[in-house]
């Protein structure tokens, strides 16, 4: 053996020997661990018990690994067991007082002074402020706005997951997702009649225009819905489309398109706010209000209900195929039933009626077991 190899060999312990030492150390600390009854009341005893149990399980695994001549696995389990014990020891001597924590532990600074952690926290704060506003207003939120908010909550989840993955191939994924969520949060808060969630002037220079456009569009959407202007949905959809296009242009770095969307969006939002103010003061307001109320009260069609149920099963059921099949058959059978009634073909109508009732019964079963299976 060469001199350096011998030196290296001297520095390293035999894996079997190291595994035995660690296992023995783990056995000692577990044996010496204080009993729960001996701990001071008011400390984190539940966490202490949980970690100590994990340490004991790690000990058993480490012992078995060593018995099966797998020293490396035994070392890993023992090290984890010792770590569980260390955590248990901290919990045992920490008083469970009301917790105040306001820090993240490491920051990833982006260009322009932004950091990913602050952006994620800011998005969390925005979502909670929207929740507080809705609860404070004690009013219902439109289906469209609820869907927007669901997307923002999903943005938060995606941003955290992307942050956890730390994908070097896509370094802007976290910030882009968080920025998208923040801009839409600004819009939703304003569309609910709240103040500016974030003052555009206090935001990073590159994002000021987007925050401003989101605010203006949100204010316009609020004016349209609160004053029940005719075709509000269509106009709001158009505003939202411009805002989304502006966000996309920002991510693509297309400055001229971005400037264009800012201009178009601002003009459209201002025009709609003015139109809403004019409509409510004019004679046509009453008629428009009536029209919108009629629209709201209208019962959804058979097709619309089927579409909404399909969407619900699609998004929330783990195995929606059976429900999809029943909905599809129901839609076809109901159409055939209508045709047979129109043709006064009563026997065929009777047959399709039986089929429709059977499909509804099947769907009823799927809905009944929905919460148990998913």
């Amino acid at each position: 053996m060469e001199f350096f190899e011998r030196i290296e060999h001297m520095g390293k312990k035999n894996p079997g020997e190291k595994a035995s030492q660690l296992l023995s150390k783990l056995a000692d600390v577990i044996a010496d661990a204080p009993d729960v009854a001996d701990l001071e009341s008011g400390n984190y005893t539940e966490l202490y018990v949980m970690r100590l149990e994990k340490a004991k399980r790690a000990y058993v695994k480490a012992k078995n690994a060593l018995a099966h001549n797998d020293p490396q696995s035994s070392i890993d389990h023992s090290q984890r067991g010792l770590l569980h014990y260390e955590l248990a020891a901290i919990h045992a001597c920490t008083e469970a007082t009301a917790f105040v924590a306001n820090q993240t532990f490491a920051k990833t600074v982006m260009s322009g002074g932004l950091n990913l952690e602050d952006m994620i926290e800011k998005l969390q704060e925005a979502i909670c402020r929207i929740k507080l506003l809705i609860e404070y207003q004690n009013s219902s939120i439109s289906k469209e706005l609820r869907q927007r908010l669901s997307t923002v909550v999903q943005n938060l989840q995606d941003a955290i997951e992307a942050y956890a993955r730390n994908d070097e191939n896509d370094p802007t994924l976290v910030s882009d997702t968080a920025i998208g969520g923040l801009i839409w949060s600004q819009y939703i808060h304003a569309a609910l009649g709240g103040d500016a969630l974030y003052a555009p002037k206090q935001e990073p220079r590159t994002l000021r225009g987007l925050y401003q456009l989101a605010l203006e569009s949100g204010v316009a959407a609020y004016n349209l819905t609160s004053r029940r202007i005719k075709d509000a949905r269509v106009k709001i959809h158009s505003l939202e489309k411009v805002l989304q296009s502006a966000i996309d242009a920002h991510f693509e770095g297309d400055v001229s398109a971005l400037e264009n969307y800012f201009r178009v969006g601002a003009i459209e939002a201002t025009a709609l706010i003015k139109a809403a103010a004019k409509a409510i003061s004019g004679a046509e307001a009453a008629a428009e209000i009536g029209g919108e109320e009629e629209q709201i009260k209208a019962t959804p069609s058979f097709k619309e209900i089927i579409a909404e149920m399909t969407e619900l099963f699609q998004n929330h059921h783990s195995d929606p195929e059976r429900a999809f099949a029943s909905l599809s058959y129901l839609q076809k059978d109901a159409a055939s039933l209508k045709r047979a009634i129109r043709a006064e073909d009563w026997q065929t109508a009777q047959n399709f009626l039986v089929c429709c009732r059977a499909e509804i019964s099947t769907l009823s079963g799927v809905v009944h077991y929905f919460s148990r299976t998913d």
């Binding site: 770590l83 919990h91 469970a96 969390q124 619900l312 099963f313 929330h316 039933l337 109508a349 009777q350």
Partner: protein, 153 residues
């Protein structure tokens, strides 16, 4: 090399301490959430955030035992995000409970909400089908018509 070894050890100790602090934070929030759930409202989003935070701490402990310190720092932040979000939701609902009308807004569609909506839709479909059924003459009428037709022939 004693220098780096000391630094590594200091980092390890700090990370063990942070893991414990985060675990205690999650425990406290979970307690507050459970108490709120039995008293006034159960938030599925807070619940899933807490579950994610706990799962992330488990990952952090595994990485810490393997000595992957950079990964531990990141996982600590992830656990913090989930825990903080759950804490903010629980705090907002506590405010609504104490000062508001007790009308809680769920940020995600809850299972019971979805089930209720499906029930409502199904009831509507059923009503529409039964309305159509009223247009079909009763079975005895059909039989009478059939026998009349038979006699006529």
């Amino acid at each position: 090399m004693p220098g780096p070894a000391r630094n590594k050890s200091a980092r390890y100790a700090a990370q063990v301490s942070r893991t414990a602090i985060l675990e205690q934070l999650i425990f406290q929030i979970d307690r507050a959430h459970q108490s709120a759930a039995t008293t006034y409202h159960q938030s599925e989003l807070a619940e899933s955030s807490l579950a994610n935070a706990t799962a992330t701490i488990t990952e952090a402990v595994k990485s810490l035992a393997l000595g992957d310190h950079d990964s531990v720092d990141r996982l600590h932040n992830v656990a913090w995000f989930y825990a903080k979000f759950a804490q903010d939701i629980v705090a907002a609902e506590s405010t609504e409970h104490l000062l508001g009308n007790g009308r809680f807004f769920d940020l995600i569609e809850t299972r019971s909400n979805i089930k209720n909506r499906l029930h409502d839709h199904l009831a509507l479909l059923s009503t529409k089908i039964e309305t159509l059924a009223q247009d079909i003459p009763a079975l005895w009428e059909l039989e009478q018509t059939a026998s009349k037709e038979h006699k006529d022939k």
